[in-house]
């Protein structure tokens, strides 16, 4: 018997692939700026105010569009569920993880959207991941907008369908691609009501018509429109008169609803089957009872939140108009949604401006490629119905000072 020498193989370090990212971040921090991706909210005082590093800060970069996070009825529902059902569910929706308030949240969604079906997922990301990967199987086609959210791309990557992209918000490009596909296979066109980077709205009416013409089903992600687009606040599809024409609506609890979670609503008679087949629904823990209870309470209130809707739109118009007047370049010519994106020249200018705003007490989101379209650097502002006219005025003054300091205006 021969003895083989024991050679210890050198371990190939899987972390080496992150060296580029580590170096880029180090270089940014070496320039003496605060890390835009490591902000800590030490206190949150209201939907529009927090304390960051001891400084009172106006929040202009959260997705708290309808300002529901401190609503007394919402908080009371959460407290009651926490006391009655405990802190967590310890299980999947499919097994032991469906409690009274998961059913209440789904009932509230069916009522809000006027649909026969509603399924609650643990996050909005998982709702897109699960719906797309489960709906479209081998041999089917998913046709998506090039600027789609990561959760949509990841749903495509997780599934086995053929994936086709079209140029952002181009009806013509979508129509051309649909016309080139074979007729027989099933198709799912995936759209978003509001695209989150620039805050631009999709021409859903034309796109849904083209999709139907080619026999495709349609899924619309209305994450950034719930509560303030359309007569019932259902989203851009409602505002564009597409009630009953969209097969699946995906949404989230983490924006207008003010907690965390995701959902899909549909009128499809076989919709419930998703619960039996969808891995991101089955193989994860369900939301804690307090979370679904706050979601249910919030959704019921959003149905009647006409004043909040009006305030939110007033705020969006005031900020968009003010920034335009100051000479900033914005993502949309008119205030199309509750997102106002300021376009800056490069990373250095964006970070300098972002930091100047933070130091003057305004928090906005910094967004950079590859998350942003066309390689742009953005300071993304999102409005809240609870922002006061005084806060908007303050924000505009601080934008003016920061913009002049970094040479953006």
């Amino acid at each position: 018997m021969t003895q083989t020498a024991l050679i210890e193989p050198e371990t190939a370090d899987l972390m080496t692939k992150f060296d580029g990212l580590i170096a880029e971040r180090a270089a940014l921090l070496a320039a003496g700026v605060t890390d835009p991706f490591a902000i800590v909210m030490d206190e949150v005082r209201s939907p529009t105010e927090a304390v960051i590093k001891g400084r009172e800060t106006i929040l202009l970069g959260t997705y708290n569009y309808m300002g529901m996070t401190f609503d007394p009825d919402v908080l009371a529902a959460g407290h009651a569920a926490l006391d009655a059902f405990g802190s967590g569910t310890n299980g999947s929706r499919m097994l032991n993880g469906t409690f009274r308030d998961h059913m209440a949240a789904e009932a509230a969604l069916r009522e809000f959207y006027g649909t026969s079906g509603a399924i609650v997922f643990s996050t909005g990301y998982q709702a897109n991941l699960g719906m797309i990967a489960t709906l479209a199987g081998r041999g089917d086609y998913v046709i998506l907008d090039a600027d789609s959210h990561a959760s949509i791309y990841d749903g495509c990557a997780m599934g086995t369908a053929e994936i086709v992209r079209f140029r952002h918000n181009s009806v013509e490009d979508l129509a051309k691609r649909l016309a080139r596909l074979p007729v027989e296979p099933a198709k799912l066109v995936v759209l978003e009501g509001v695209y989150s980077m620039l805050g631009d709205v999709a021409p859903l009416k034309e796109m849904v018509a083209v999709a139907k013409q080619h026999g495709a089903m349609v899924l619309v992600d209305e994450a950034h429109s719930m509560g303030f687009f359309g007569e019932h606040g259902r989203g851009v599809y409602e505002a564009q008169g597409l009630e009953g024409e969209v097969d699946f609506i995906v949404g989230t609890f983490s924006k207008s609803v003010g907690t965390v979670g995701g959902f899909c609503v549909s009128n499809h008679p076989k919709f419930e089957a998703i619960r039996l087949a969808c891995r991101p629904y089955i193989f994860t823990a369900s939301l804690p009872p307090s979370v679904v209870a706050t979601a249910a309470a919030s959704i019921r209130k959003l149905k009647h939140a006409h004043n909040k809707r009006q305030h939110l739109w007033e705020n969006a118009r005031a900020l968009h108009g003010g920034l335009t007047a100051l000479g900033f370049k914005l993502g949309t010519e008119t205030p199309e949604s509750a997102i106002v994106a300021v376009i800056l020249g490069d990373q250095n200018q964006a970070v300098a401006m972002w930091q100047a705003l933070l130091e003057s007490g305004v928090y906005v989101n910094m967004a950079r490629p590859p998350a942003t379209p066309a390689g742009t650097y953005l300071l993304r502002c999102s409005l809240c119905a609870e922002h006061t006219p005084e806060q908007i005025k303050t924000v505009l003054a601080r934008f003016e000072a920061a913009g002049r300091a970094v040479g953006a205006i």
Partner: protein, 82 residues
């Protein structure tokens, strides 16, 4: 000129506007390591190729294409089918 050479020329013409460094193109030129394209450039370019040849190159197929030669082969196959 063969069909393949013609397709290669058309592909090269569509690469040109994105070939910032003026890399000389051959069958083996890699989109990622030679042309150093990011995902946004790839997106624009693929859309142009699709429209030029009236074809669809699915993202699944794109994942398999690394070089100019492989793209020309894919275009030949897709246009033959059409």
């Amino acid at each position: 000129m063969t069909d393949r050479a013609q397709t290669f020329d058309t592909v090269a013409r569509l690469i040109a506007p994105f070939n910032k460094k003026g890399v000389a193109l051959s069958e083996g030129t890699s989109f990622q390591s030679d042309l150093e394209w990011d995902s946004l450039t790839v997106l624009d370019f693929v859309a142009n190729i699709e429209d030029e040849f009236d074809i669809i190159i699915t993202m699944n197929m794109q994942a398999e294409i690394e070089t100019v030669g492989q793209l020309v082969d894919a275009v030949m196959k897709l246009t033959a089918k059409a």
